[in-house]
């Protein structure tokens, strides 16, 4: 069985269906990119996987266990899943180091000193060693987002969910965040990411999925999707994106 498997997931808000029976498997060490227009359900799908939303139908399995089961413990499941948001959501009253060590210390019961050591190693690896004592509002958007990724990484998740993590960034800051994701892939991290950066999706994804109106319309290798999409709607979407010079 796949590491993460999503079967027939439905989600509606006020009777408005956002996800309409999505099936998606993510293998261990695979990087899956979700593309699609705003409102196509990419973020909602990620939030369902992280149990920030409850599904209205279907099931999601992680490592063989059903996480959408009624008796599943959401806290225990979230400990195995890292998520990074578009708006970083760092804790503004904590330093960078405190942001990163909070969950390891409080949830995973790692001794404080050891957690700090591991956090410093991660900061060092991603070029933020000198920011450990800073508060988030003293950092650039790109730096904040890298810290957010490290914060999720510090919990040693089985899978990372990245929800349009470069959408709020100035173009020149996007590359530094992409660099971190690239490095995660080299480290063998399993990732499911929603993105608007088609060039990046093409470079980093093993599999690209096109979501349209809450349906997973097409899935394939980046080559297939970006050079020879089968569906007309995929072609339309990509040409619209191309027009706006995002590709």
């Amino acid at each position: 069985m796949s590491l993460l498997s999503i079967e027939g997931v439905w989600k509606t808000y006020h009777r408005h269906p956002v996800l309409r029976g999505v099936d998606l498997d993510v293998e261990a060490h695979e990087v899956v990119c979700l593309i699609g227009a705003s409102g196509s359900g990419k973020s909602t799908l990620l939030r369902c996987v992280n149990l920030l939303e409850t599904v209205d139908d279907g099931a999601i399995h992680l490592d063989g266990a059903e996480i959408t089961a009624v008796d599943a413990d959401p806290d225990a499941i979230r400990q195995q899943i890292g998520i990074v948001f578009q708006s970083y959501n760092l804790f503004p009253h904590m330093t960078v180091l405190e942001n990163i060590t909070l969950a390891p210390v409080q949830v995973h019961k790692v001794p404080r000193r050891q957690a700090a050591e591991q956090a410093r190693e991660l900061l060092d690896r991603f070029g933020l060693a000198d920011k450990a004592g800073e508060y988030p509002d003293r950092l650039s958007g790109g730096q904040q987002q890298r810290v957010a990724i490290i914060r999720a990484l510090a919990c040693k998740p089985k899978v990372m969910l990245l929800d349009e993590i470069t959408s709020a960034l100035d173009p020149e800051l996007v590359t530094e965040v992409m660099g971190v994701v690239r490095e995660l892939k080299e480290g063998g991290m399993t990732m499911l990411m929603a993105t608007h950066e088609m060039g990046f999706a093409r470079e980093i994804a093993d599999t690209v999925c096109f979501l349209d109106g809450g349906v997973l319309l097409e899935r394939g290798t980046p080559e297939q999707i970006f050079t020879a999409p089968e569906q007309q709607r995929t072609r339309d979407f990509l040409s619209r994106v191309l027009e706006s010079r995002r590709l």
Binding site: R78, Y88, N89, F91, P92, H93, L102, Q106, V107, Q144
Partner: protein
């Protein structure tokens, strides 16, 4: 800093601009001073020339009565300070506890949550003075074993109940003001509901509600005088005793001065914190 910055000299245009700005600044300072002086003089003349001024001066502003009564009033004021210092931390605990109860979603706590709503509705609705009467005279009348009969204890208990309800609402507003994305971020890291509250929501909420909390404290400092109605000898009661004996109201002025002396520093501190929070928002922090 680049070398360009170091060699920058102001242009004539900028020098002229700054001269004009300084001149405008001096002018508005001059206007403000002049209008203040004129206003104070007018008020002074109005008061001093009023027909009853001599009487007022003798009964409210008698220096000899002030000196004679001040030690007693000051001693009474000590009781106000003690009541305030005892009530304040307990109010914070009650307020925070009630606010957190109202925020819980666990079904086990439903009766407590309902009780918390009832508590805030009830005690915010009763005038503080009325509540002091009800508790100060009602509780001893029950004749129950173990209930306190010291009016100071009962008065402070009434203040805690009344202010606890206000402070609970202040805390709740603070908790609600923390953006839901902060909770989502905490929960997604695997923190439980209580851990999220303790490490992420409360620290941010408390920082935001400090100015309105100080405002309630200032109000509480004054309302300790209401406990005098139960017979506690505080600053107000001391002033009453003296004026009843000497037919002079100066001790009231003395008591008022003491309350003002205590609240003004706290008011300035609240202003300072509010200004600092404003600056932080202007600086564009992340939340």
């Amino acid at each position: 800093m680049t070398t360009q910055d170091q060699h920058w000299t102001k242009s004539d245009r900028q020098t002229e601009r700054e001269r004009l700005r300084r001149r405008a600044g001096r002018r508005s300072a001059g206007v403000a001073t002049a209008s203040t002086v004129v206003f104070l003089v007018l008020v002074g003349i109005l008061v001093v020339t009023s027909p009853g001024w001599a009487r007022v001066q003798a009964t409210f502003l008698s220096w000899s009565d002030f000196r004679a009564s001040f030690p007693d009033v000051l001693r009474g004021f000590g009781a106000n300070v003690v009541m305030f210092l005892v009530a304040e931390p307990l109010i914070l605990i009650v307020g925070l506890g009630v606010a957190m109860l109202r925020g819980t979603k666990t079904p086990v706590f439903f009766p407590l949550r309902a009780l918390a709503v009832l508590y805030t509705d009830l005690f915010r609705g009763i005038p503080t003075l009325l509540l002091i009467f009800l508790i100060g005279f009602g509780v001893p009348a029950l004749n129950l074993q173990g209930t306190p009969s010291d009016p100071r204890v009962l008065g402070v208990a009434a203040l805690i109940l009344s202010y606890g309800a206000y402070v609970a609402e202040v805390f709740r507003a603070g908790i609600d003001s923390v953006h839901p994305s902060q909770r989502a971020a905490a929960r997604s890291l695997g923190l439980g509901q209580l851990q999220t509250m303790r490490f992420v929501v409360l620290p941010q909420a408390v920082r935001r509600v400090i100015p309105p909390l100080l405002n309630d404290f200032i109000s509480l400092q004054k309302d300790t005088a209401l406990v005098a109605t139960l017979g506690v000898v505080d600053a107000l009661r001391q002033a009453q005793i003296y004026s009843a004996q000497h037919f002079n109201y100066t001790p009231y002025v003395a008591a008022a001065a003491l309350f003002v002396a205590l609240t003004v520093p706290l008011s300035r501190f609240a202003d300072y914190l509010a200004r600092r929070a404003e600056r932080r928002r202007a600086a564009g922090s992340t939340t």
